[in-house]
Every structure is written in structure tokens, then in C-alpha cells.
Amino acid sequence: MDKLKPFLEHYFGYTTFKDGQRQIIEAVIRGEDVFAMLATGSGKSLCYQFPALWKNGTAIIVSPLLSLMENQVQELKQAGIRRAAAYNSFLSPPEKEYILRHLNDYKIVYISPESLQQPEFASRLQKLDVSLLAVDEAHCISQWGHEFRTDYLRIKEIRRMAGNPPCIALTATAAAEARKDIMEKLELTRPFIHCDSVDRPNIYIDVRKKKNEEEKRTTLQDECSRLPLPGMIYVSSRHKAEELAAFIREENGLKTSAYHGGMSNEDRRLVQQQFLNDEIDVICCTNAFGMGINKPNIRFVIHYHYSKDMESFMQEIGRAGRDGRQSLSLVLFDTADGMLPRRMIEHEFPSEEEVRMVSHDPERPDVVSSRFLLERYGLEEVHARFLQYYIQTWQKTKGAEPLDEFVSAVIERRMEWKLEKLKQKEHWLHQTVQCRRTTLLEVFDEHKTSTVSPCCDVCGEHTMHGQEQHRNTGQQALSWEERLKWILHQ
């Protein structure tokens, strides 16, 4: 008899598995390593949450973003699964301590790769019965792991410390090269591989080139008044997020809010909550928000600044239309926009000067911590971590070449790779003759098989205008007494 289905229904309230879920879950339960690539919104979370509840022990889920961890723990708790926690740097020391002490009471613990490395956590892992180690959004390993989140490359060491539990890597957006990289970096052994189409046929893909920022703004304002809501606008700076939120609020009279890493933890939670509760029409955010977030009714994702590569793009538009209904992705760009991502890529690495300074310091001890680098040389935190990682790697090579040459070579190689990805993205944006979907899928070595309609700005128009779906009339008008009355049900 099929025991999985009753379990599914009991814990998650679903009557059937979605495509691919069953095979993946069975493989994980058998204890195999798994690599799974499925489209955004196709239900990857279940692929580790199910086995986590099914198996004995505690499942550790490595997750890149705070907003995502919170979103997932919240969804679990809402489903009545209370033994889940997110362990991250925003917790107070007593809260951290509490989770650590009760680690084996939890079935699922979300954690960032950075916190995973912290000695206090890593040391507890050794004594813990780890049912499985899942790496969600695994493309981060190859997208970010090599530079500003090098702790991604150390997951395998932690895995060994935890007694080699089965490992499952999940992503919606890894091109062939990245897939190989992920499996290598996690040391998956003869993994069960499941790759489905990453296409999202209910998302219309629109790209528009504008003369300048002014025109971009006009179009943005226009679209925000025409398109059904709610929607998201992606930008690449905190400042721009705030600015556009104010702009749309004033010009369109919509409820908007910014979301970015510069906000306090409390405010970020409030905005996320408001957005999930449909109290905000348009959220203007940086890539601190979005990845993995599950809000069913997002109708559009507008890129006011384009992302650095096709994978991030695919990830970001994947927030739209998770309820299966027609939705839209729109990229607005002008020729000056290329500067931003280039500057950002450059900024991911320490400068040549800094590399030289660190390499040639006669007093640099053999073992350096990133804290040391930060304080002694005044490096930025991400750069300090980057250097710390590569100094360690260099030491393993027994220092065959000078440190600065070793590091510079890494930087050059990575920078080149990143610029290559950016150019691929820009090429995709600039061309106007080939179907956007076809060319987007090619990045993931896929061929568009079915016809999709409406498809993209090259193939033809979409018909989403004028669908006044849900527009917030806004509870803004409530006086404080009315609000008090409502909240306490008087």
C-alpha cells in the first residue's frame, strides 16, 4: 500500500504529488544524494520537508536569504508543523542558545551557510542525528559561493562532520556548468538526478529598451496603472528602491513599500507580512527579497534594473503567477544601465591594492581569520571573507606561487566568468528577432517544445491590460480608534 500519500495529506493537506515530487522524495527517503532542478513554484520545498518529517532526526536546510527562511518556517507553522526553526544572525544570543540546546527537538532547521560554519553550531552538529542536509537555491553555490559567500564552498566539510547525511540540492535555475559545479562542490555521490523544464508558460516575457531613465519612469508609472496587482519592481540599490516606492505611491496612488537589506529586521518582517497579506500593491526591492518567496498571486515582476545573469533573472521572475494564472515579466532598460552591474561585479572582489597589501605583510600570521583581515587592513567584510577563504586554499597548494598572484588569478578568472554571464544577459536583452522564451530556455540547455501564448514581446502582444483584479482601497483611512476597534473586534 502507498504509505506516502496519507502522510502527504496528513501533514501538508495535499491529495496528490506534483510532477517529480514523488520520485525525488522516494530517493531521499532511500538515503540517496539527490540533485533536483524544477521550475520556480513547482513545489521543491516539499521535496525536503516531506522526508524531514518522515525520517528520524533533524533535517538541516541551508538557505541563502533571511526572508526566505522566515517565509518557509511561517508556512510550516501555518500548516501545523511547529517543530521548525530558522537559525540566523538576527537572533539574539539567548534565542540562538535556546535553539542550539533544543536542536534535536526540531524536525527542520533552516540556516544560512555562514551560520552553519560557526563553531557553536558546527560542534552541536556532531552530536546531532541529522536526517538529511538540503541545500535550497543551490545555484547560489556557483553564483555566489566563489566570491562573496565562500561559506557555500565549505558545506561539504560540515557534511562530513555531521556524519555524511544524505544531501539534496535543489534549484530552479542552474545552467549545465552550474549543475556540475554544484554537484562537485557538495561532493554528491552518484546522485539521483531529476531535471524538469524550468519554463514558466504562464509568464509573458516583455523586454523594452528605453532612451533614458526619464522614459523608463514614464513606462513604469504607466504599467503600474494598467497591470493587475500586486506586483514587484526589482532595482539594484537600496536608494532606488526607496525612491521608486515613493514615486509610485505619489504618482499612482498605490500602496507601495521598499524592501532591502538596509532596513531593520523588524521593518523587513512587517513589509514582507504586509505584502503576503495583500496590504501592499507594489513592492520595490533589491535582490534581498524574492528568492524562493511563495506568494501565489503576484501578477507582474518589473526589472527596472536588470540582473547580472540569466539565472538570477529566471529566479526573480519566478515570483510571478505561482497560482498558475497569467502573469508578466517586464524588463526596462536603457544603454546607461550596463554600468551598474559592472560596478557591482567589480565590487564583489577586493582591489588589487588590497590583495597586495595583505600578501606582502610580513607580520601576517599563518592562520588568518576574516575578522583579523577586517580589522588589520580595513577590508570590507565580504572581501575579508573572500581573502580568508583563498588564503586557506592557497596554503593547501603549499604556496607554489606567491599569494598575490594566486589570488589575482582567481579574481581574474571569476571576474571574467561573471562578465561573460552579464554579456549573455545583455545579448538576450538587446536582440529583438528571436523568441525570448526560446532564447531564455537555451541558457538552461532546453528547447522550447510546446507553443506558449501569449509568449513574449517578439512573438506577440499580451492581453493583460485593463484586468482590474485587486486594487487596494487601503485601510490607510482608518483612524487610530477605528483601528483599535477592528483589531480587538469591538
Binding site: E70, Q74, K77, Q78, S92, P94, E95, Y98, E242, A246, R249, S257, A258, M263, S264, E266, D267, R269, L270, V271, Q273, Q274, N277, E279, Q475, Q476, L478, S479, W480, E481, R483, L484, K485, W486, I487, L488, H489, Q490
Partner: protein
């Protein structure tokens, strides 16, 4: 005259109180609520406890930049590392005071720490009540601190009747309490609370709504929380949210240790050796204790005559600056800085009213 950004204005008000007496940095410690012996003495001596912890989130680098700006614009100056308020600064303050409605309470010294916990408990309680009564068990709690959740569990009404009754009582209590505040302040409180289908607003959002700077919003909100805390006894729920909170944890931790040694009869030098601390640190601790405890045996350190002498000069010279006082009392050579500080601290307390 142009309005200053809110926190700079507050800084300027404080600067007037501390004119020529302390460094700009000392004001930073007061506004951000640093718990050091020196800062604690300062706020008591200059009677500025209501500035304490007004902007705990003010970053030092920003503070430096902003006060430098204020120097460049001649609101303040600094001489020998002491802050001086200019004529321009004074008249700026005058204008501000003319039409600013100061909230009924703000006291970061008394309520600073406990207000945060009090608020978390209250907000979580209201949110859970609102959601539960709407039949919704699926929501993200606004605060997840384990201690706050444990408080909630203990105080959660068990029956549905209990919940309903609590809600209607709390409604009346909060309404009546908040009606005594300015509308804007009540608005801030209610909009920081989340409930069924209504999520709390961020500072940026509130600042947009009220067309008031974020700093001012936060200050007004905090003062409203202090007000609720002060009047918690008017509400059965609020009084529980306030229970067990030390309204002020009087001494710094390290000073408490020194005090324990002192009470066991150890002398200063002995304590310094036992705790492996510098004499100057132990002196700081003693000064802090003197400022807090009526029972402090001040006579063991400074004779009554000397105490009178110091207080006399402090009064006639209208200063609490140590160097000036030291010069004034210099004929009495045995009176060192420590004696002066100790005396000032001991009589600085309001309940020692002899000063």
C-alpha cells in the same frame, strides 16, 4: 529660522544643558544610552535623564558627521573638548520650544530597557488576541523572542469567554489611555500593532503618513510606550505586561561586583587587586555607587567640612567642572578629583536635597 532635523534639535537642547561642561562625545553617550558610570553621573547631575537613550540606534559615525555639520553652521562650538552652545543655537532652541508639544512622559533612564520588553509583550498579546478571535491560527507572530512567548503562554486567557472579555476590557482601557495622548501619538501606537488583516507599519511608512521624520516618529512612539508603562496599573493586561520588569537596573554589572566587595568591608585598593582592575576604575564604581545609594558612607572618604567646601564652590561658581572646582578648593591639598566627584555624585541625587 529653519527647522533642524529632529535628532539634531534634540542634541542641541541637550547641548544647552551641558554648556561648557562636557564634551560632545559625552552627549552621544547620553543620547544613545550608554551605561557607564560617567554617563550615569552626568544625566543625574545635569538633570537630563529624559534625554537618556532617546536615540539608541544613532550610529557614531553619523553622529560625528552631524555634529560637525552643526559646528560648521555655528549652532555649537567646541573648546578644550567642551561643547559650547552659540547664540544662534540658543535662539534655535527658543523657537523650537515655543511650539513643540513635548510628550507627557519620556524617560529613557527609568523606562529605556523595560519599555522594549513591555512593548513586545503588549503587541504580541494584542496580535494573538486579534487573530485568535477572528478564528485565524495561521499568522506570523510579530515577536518571536522566547522569553516574550513564554510570558504570553503564562498570561494567555484559556477560554473563549476569557478571550472575549479580555479583548473588550483591553479595548476600553487602551482607548481611554490613548485618548489622553495627542492623536498623532495614539496613531503611532496603534499602527505599530499588528492584528487580524492589519499588519503594523514600518517607520518609513509612518513617517510618510504623518509627514514627520522617522526619528521623531520613533521618539513620539517610545514616549507613548513610556506613558503606557507608567499608567500600566490602569489596565489588567498592561499591568501584567509590565510585571517583573525592573523599572531601572540601577548599577552597571561591574559596579555591582565592586559593591559586593565593598559591603564585605574591603577597601578600594584591596578591591582593585582582587578584581584585577585599575584604581581609577574602582574609583568610577564608587562614584557611581555614591550617586545611587543614600547609605553610601561618604563621610569615610570626605569629611563633612570638605563636603561643604566643595558644594559651596559648585554652587557659587555654577559649575560642575572638575578642573575649575579643583582649583577653587586647591588650598585644601588633600582634596583630589576623586573626593570632588564623590561629593558631587552623592549630593547630585534628588533625594539628598542638601546640595
Amino acid at each position: 529660522m529653519q527647522a533642524l532635523p529632529f535628532r539634531r534639535q534634540m542634541f542641541l537642547l541637550l547641548a544647552e544643558r551641558m554648556n561648557q561642561e562636557r564634551s560632545i562625545q559625552a552627549l552621544y553617550h547620553i543620547l544613545t544610552g550608554k551605561k557607564s558610570s560617567q554617563t550615569i553621573q552626568d544625566i543625574k547631575w545635569y538633570d537630563v535623564t529624559y534625554f537618556f537613550r532617546m536615540f539608541p540606534y544613532w550610529k557614531e559615525t553619523e553622529f560625528e558627521q552631524e555634529t560637525k555639520d552643526m559646528q560648521n553652521n555655528r549652532y555649537i562650538a567646541s573648546e578644550n573638548n567642551r561643547i559650547i552652545i552659540t547664540e544662534k543655537g540658543r535662539s534655535q532652541n527658543e523657537t523650537f520650544r515655543c511650539d513643540y508639544r513635548w510628550p507627557p512622559v519620556f524617560n529613557g533612564w527609568l523606562y529605556g530597557k523595560s519599555a522594549a520588553v513591555f512593548w513586545k509583550r503588549t503587541a504580541l498579546f494584542v496580535q494573538c488576541l486579534s487573530q485568535t478571535l477572528a478564528g485565524n491560527r495561521r499568522f506570523l507572530p510579530v515577536f518571536e523572542d522566547i522569553s516574550v512567548q513564554q510570558w504570553l503562554k503564562k498570561n494567555w486567557p484559556r477560554t473563549i469567554e476569557g478571550k472575549k472579555q479580555t479583548a473588550s476590557e483591553l479595548f476600553v482601557e487602551l482607548r481611554d489611555l490613548l485618548r489622553e495622548l495627542d492623536d498623532g501619538d495614539a496613531f503611532l501606537v496603534m499602527n505599530r500593532i499588528s492584528g487580524y488583516h492589519l499588519t503594523g507599519q514600518t517607520w518609513t511608512q509612518l513617517s510618510n503618513r504623518l509627514e514627520m521624520s522617522e526619528d521623531e516618529c520613533r521618539f513620539r512612539f517610545l514616549s507613548a510606550v513610556h506613558y503606557l508603562l507608567e499608567h500600566a496599573d490602569r489596565s489588567s493586561t498592561l499591568v501584567r505586561a509590565a510585571s517583573g520588569l525592573a523599572i531601572r537596573d540601577i548599577l552597571t554589572e561591574t559596579t555591582k561586583k565592586t559593591l559586593r566587595y565593598m559591603n564585605e568591608g574591603h577597601g578600594m585598593e584591596q578591591i582593585a587587586r582582587a578584581r584585577n582592575l585599575k584604581m581609577s576604575t574602582i574609583e568610577d564604581h564608587f562614584v557611581e555607587i555614591a550617586s545611587e545609594q543614600k547609605e553610601f558612607p561618604i563621610g569615610d572618604f570626605v569629611t563633612e567640612d570638605d563636603q561643604r567646601l566643595i558644594l559651596h564652590y559648585a554652587k557659587t561658581l555654577q559649575t560642575k567642572r572638575l578642573k575649575v572646582l579643583k582649583e577653587a578648593v586647591s588650598p585644601a591639598e588633600h582634596l583630589d578629583y576623586f573626593c570632588i566627584r564623590l561629593t558631587l555624585a552623592f549630593y547630585g541625587r534628588d533625594d539628598n536635597g542638601q546640595a
